[in-house]
């Protein structure tokens, strides 16, 4: 109980990290629901890795052509964010444009994208003349290094994404659920796809920079998967996923702080435990219903 009181105290040393972690946990599932609904879960694995490749690339280029970057400077995160954003959005748009063409399935392209991104991340790091623990820390997403400045950036970007998701919700649902009907209604489906992918790109870029690929992927996919088991309506599915992500992020932070665990694995493990529990519960309930009906 004292740990909880410490964490909730306004003077808590890691307050910005806690708020940042909960923000990532809340916002990632809001775009992650579209990965589930569009059956593109693998994209949730590949894009954070692409984002990491963008960070490594930007730092490598900067250090090769400009020189060592002052460690822990505010601009360092901005540099990483630019690289992460450009790579993620470019990859997302490329995959979106190729989605409706070619002979191979979209999963094959996403798989190839993941493999390529993982490989070049390591190569970029190897070629970085000052590649060290600091850049590795950025790639892993060191949420504990969150400052009030980076928290402001997160709040602004995630707030803008949240507003866009609310305002465009009807169109995004229509083009995702029944693309043909959207075309019959005269909607520019490719334009709405691009809007969605830009929002996804923005969330993943900032999520990876702040919390790392593991936590970002975990929050993109696991809370929506959990809520899909118990939701009969879109509103409960979307809002429930976001709330579950936020609560899981807080719980994971508590466990990590209380038991001295790495944060991202603690968050993902907690989210997965909830998924397992809800999956088991709904499975048993359905089996009982079938048994009673028989």
């Amino acid at each position: 109980m004292s740990t909880l009181a410490t964490i909730l105290s306004p003077d808590f040393l890691l307050r910005d990290a806690l708020v940042g972690s909960v923000l990532v946990g809340f916002i990632c599932p809001l775009v992650g629901v579209y990965f589930i609904l569009r059956r593109m879960i693998f994209l949730g694995v590949a894009l954070p890795q692409v984002s990491a490749a963008g960070i490594a690339f930007t730092f490598m280029v900067y250090r090769l052509f400009v020189g060592p970057h002052p460690e822990a400077a505010v601009g360092e995160r901005m540099l990483g964010l630019i690289g992460s954003g450009v790579f993620t959005i470019a990859a997302t748009l490329s995959l979106a444009l190729m989605e409706r063409s070619g002979r191979e399935r979209i999963e094959a392209r996403i798989g190839a994208t993941y493999a390529l991104a993982a490989a070049v991340t390591i190569l970029f790091l190897a070629k970085d003349p000052h590649g060290d623990a600091e850049i590795v820390g950025l790639l892993k997403g060191d949420i504990l290094a969150t400052t009030s400045a980076s928290l402001s950036t997160m709040t602004a970007v995630f707030g803008a994404v949240l507003i866009a998701l609310i305002v465009f919700q009807r169109q995004l649902l229509l083009v995702s659920f029944d693309r043909d009907l959207a075309i019959v209604f005269g909607r520019h489906v490719m334009l709405w796809d691009i809007v969605l992918y830009l929002l996804i790109g923005a969330v993943i870029s900032l999520g990876v920079m702040s919390a790392g690929p593991l936590a970002t992927f975990g929050f993109l996919v696991i809370p929506p998967l959990t809520m899909r088991l118990v939701s009969a309506r879109m509103i409960s599915f979307v809002l429930g996923s976001a709330l579950l992500g936020g609560v899981t992020a807080f719980g994971g932070f508590y466990c990590a702080y209380r038991y001295d665990l790495p944060l991202a694995p603690a968050e993902v493990a907690l989210a997965s435990a909830l998924l397992l529990a809800v999956g088991t519960f709904t499975g048993v309930r359905r089996a009982l219903e079938r048994w009673q009906a028989a």
Partner: protein, 240 residues
């Protein structure tokens, strides 16, 4: 001659530049009930989707008798084309039909919500409004999709095999519902079917699609003893 709601002029339709149907010319008049019949793979669905702009027009032109962007047609797809992963109630699916004339950023509003509820009532499913769409029977799902098409307040309904995969009782109910829209509300209907079968008594015109040829065989008043050329479709013969 009545007012044309849609007219195809020497149209070719196909995929990736390869035509499936060529030289297609016919018109559908206001108040008509047209059945598009033909064997499997003949191109019935391609023709229907081509009229809706879902399959590219490779040549010729399609003329609409109304502003189809301001007032889009109602569309009932094959129900298996929708993904059950979406957690939607029957009402939420129908509400989607009201998006037809709704600008992207405008709220749905009370009128459209009432319209969606009314359309569900028109298809006899008001009591199931809050039920998850995917828990409904095949026939009920099809009626929900018809309600969604009606919620677009269209001039014309396009239906792609609305009775496929449903039992005979549900099939009869769906056909009665579509016929009611045509006969009592004056809705123009174009419907894809493998054969005339039970829809024969409801339709006013038949368009056959077979081996790349499209013909409008009966212009109006489809009597049971109409031309011999309709015999295969009436019997439901499925030519390979």
């Amino acid at each position: 001659m009545g007012e044309h709601l849609i007219a195809l002029r020497d149209v070719s339709l196909g995929y990736r530049g390869v035509p499936v149907l060529t030289g297609v010319s016919f018109a559908i008049e206001r108040g008509d009930f047209v059945a598009l019949v033909g064997p499997n793979g003949a191109g019935k669905t391609t023709l229907l989707r081509g009229m809706l702009g879902l399959v590219p027009t490779l040549a010729g032109r399609i003329e609409w008798g109304f502003d189809r962007l301001a007032s889009p047609p109602g569309y009932v797809p094959q129900r298996d084309s929708l993904d059950p992963i979406f957690p939607l109630t029957a009402y939420e699916v129908v509400l989607m039909g009201t998006y037809a004339s709704l600008p992207p950023l405008r709220p749905i509003g009370a009128r459209r919500r009432h319209l969606a509820a009314d359309c569900l009532e028109r298809v006899g499913l008001a009591a199931l409004a809050r039920r998850p769409y995917w828990e409904l029977s095949g026939g009920q799902k099809q009626r929900v999709l018809i309600a969604r098409a009606l919620a677009a307040e269209p001039h014309m309904l396009f239906l792609d095999e609305p009775t496929a995969g449903v039992d005979r009782e549900a099939e009869a109910a769906i056909i009665a519902l579509i016929a009611e829209q045509n006969q009592q509300h004056g809705m123009t209907v174009a419907l894809v079917s493998h054969h005339l079968g039970r829809i024969q008594s409801a339709v006013r015109s038949v368009i056959t699609v077979d081996e790349g040829r499209v013909e409008k065989l009966v212009a109006a008043g489809l009597a049971p003893d109409a031309g011999d050329e309709l015999a295969p479709w009436r019997r439901g013969v499925q030519r390979a």
